[in-house]
């Protein structure tokens, strides 16, 4: 209980620190109005949102969803269509998130009949079904109308991304200490034991999935708002799920700050390596990921705790 309280306090401090950093970044377009800098921070923010959304269902509720890209894709699909038709982008993004969540609730109950790794491969197959279908139905590339391209403002996308990343951190911070969040973590540790002590496992897993997919849907809408042209099936690609998984695990799965740290490290290293070697980052992150699963299941957050503990032990009392 004690450890839990300390951890909760640590989480609140992290949430506050991250939000302050985001507020500071809001001044970046004034301080450094350079497109490359803003694009870079935008990518980090999109990644934080995506990783954090995956973290809710996989990190807190323990359900490794390998079909996460489907919800990102659905959000992108609807938001893009509505926005191009003239609906304000924020409303279009809300609609996209609603669609993603609705789909999650439809498939949720049957999907949660599967446990552990079976849930993972089942959702992986589901994501691939959606991707192939969208690819077949909408094979044409989606490009913005010329008038919209002429009026394209990067800063709008930037601020939206900051707000969304902030919202994802607030959502996880609120969830982590809440009754529902604790119930989810109980399910993650031992579903039978959680049920036996009165936790409604299915309802909470569905809640986690709904929250997670709503955020993923919003992130998809942001992607649709940001990119000038892309194939509609692109946001459904499995690599979006894999990116979210890597960032979350490297940072620390099931923690508030982990996905944020993971996303920053991932995007920075990816962009840095991409200058010389395209896609080489996946070799490094693949290997790093294996090492983390085997040796350091808590990711960077666990490493940080271990270092702090060692330092405290050294300190004379």
């Amino acid at each position: 209980m004690m450890a839990r309280a300390i951890e909760a306090r640590g989480e609140r401090r992290w949430a506050l620190g991250i939000l302050l950093a985001l507020v500071a970044l809001a001044f970046l377009p004034l301080a450094a109005p350079r497109d490359d800098v803003l694009n870079f921070v935008f990518l980090i923010m999109l990644s934080i949102t995506l990783a954090q959304s995956w973290n809710i269902v996989a990190g807190y509720a323990g359900q490794v969803n390998l079909g996460h890209a489907a919800f990102f894709g659905l959000g992108a699909l609807l938001a893009r269509a509505l926005w191009i038709k003239g609906v304000p982008i924020v409303l279009a993004m809300v609609a996209g998130a609603v669609l993603a969540t609705a789909f999650a609730l439809v498939i949720g109950a049957p999907a949660f009949r599967l446990r552990g790794a079976y849930f993972a491969i089942g959702t992986l197959a589901l994501g691939e079904i959606l991707r192939t279908t969208v690819n077949n139905v909408l094979p044409e590339i989606s490009t913005l109308p010329a008038a919209t391209i002429a009026g394209y403002r990067l800063t709008h996308r930037y601020y939206l991304a900051l707000a969304l990343a902030g919202a994802s951190v607030v959502a996880v911070a609120a969830l982590a200490g809440s009754r529902a969040g604790l119930g989810m973590q109980a399910i993650r540790e031992d579903e039978e034991a959680a049920e036996a002590s009165g936790v409604g496992a299915l309802r909470l897993k569905l809640t986690a999935l709904a929250l997670s997919t709503a955020l993923a849907g919003f992130a998809g809408g942001l992607f649709a708002y940001y990119h000038i042209s892309y194939y509609p099936s692109h946001p459904f690609g499995p690599h979006w799920t894999f990116d979210a998984l890597l960032m979350t695990f490297i940072g620390g799965v099931g923690t508030l700050q982990g996905p944020v740290l993971g996303a920053v490290l991932y995007v920075v290293l990816k962009e840095y390596l991409a200058v010389r070697w395209v896609d080489f980052h996946l070799l490094i992150f693949g290997a790093l990921f294996i090492a983390i699963v085997l040796l350091l299941p808590g990711g960077l957050v666990q490493a940080q705790h271990a270092i702090i503990r060692t330092l405290q032990r050294r300190r004379p009392r």
């Binding site: 079976y118 079904i129 192939t132 077949n136 896609d279 080489f280 290997a287 990921f289 699963v293 085997l294």
Partner: protein, 289 residues
Amino acid sequence: MSVLAQQILLGLLIGGLYGLAAAGLSLVFGVMKVLDVAHGELIMLGGYAAFFAVAVLGLDPFGSLALVIPASLLFGAVLYLGLFAFVVRADEETRVKNSLLIGFGLALAFHALAVRLWTADERSIVTPYGGSVFMVGDLAIPLVRLLSLILAFLLIGGLHLLLARWRWGKAIRATAEDWQAALLTGIDVRRAYLLAFALGTALAGAAGTLVSIAYSVSPAIGLEWTLKALIVVVLAGLGSMLGTFVGGLVLGVAEAASAAAFGGAYREIVGLVIFVLVLVARPKGLFGR
């Protein structure tokens, strides 16, 4: 009518490779309860090994199996000793989950490595008898694909005999059934795991060889083949290698039939839909026997 029959025939021919691809996964999962989602990447690596054995060493395409299979056995043993040996120490649920994650990391790393070493281009082994087709009535049968099917069947049959007759084959089956009981009767379970994983990797290498001869190989084919193998394992269940082969044929035919009914673009979906439905209908009995 003959168009449909032709498509079904081609479905059968590729179905044999689905069966072979699934056999290794099925063996590893059945024996070790390790779900190696990098299985498709192992197939991809096998395909490249065969490609270079033919292109650089000048081996006969099908003859390259004599090199690829032992190399894959060795590679599998190294992978087991270096990685999966640590995974099998955990209890069963953690084992499945961790092996899934590790397989996933491996898949990413192998894919990136393959792109780095061999570019993202598609390659295919050109055989001297490359385009030969012979006709049976109205049906055109491509020679290399027929040979691939026959070889896939022989390999699976060979594995079946190995597991049925060989001393260590029996040890592997005993371990699959109940590793604790196997341990009590004096079977070296760790070695059975090592053998099963090496054999599974060898099967993936063989499948990759046939894939790059009869079809083509590129760094990106991994996920697709992992999914095919998973679908077949779900269809066929564990425990019977010949059943896995039949499951592969069924998937091949189902794909061909759905391509004929809904158009070629949907051939990938039918297997996945079957997979999800079977999974949801039998969430626990799935990998049971």
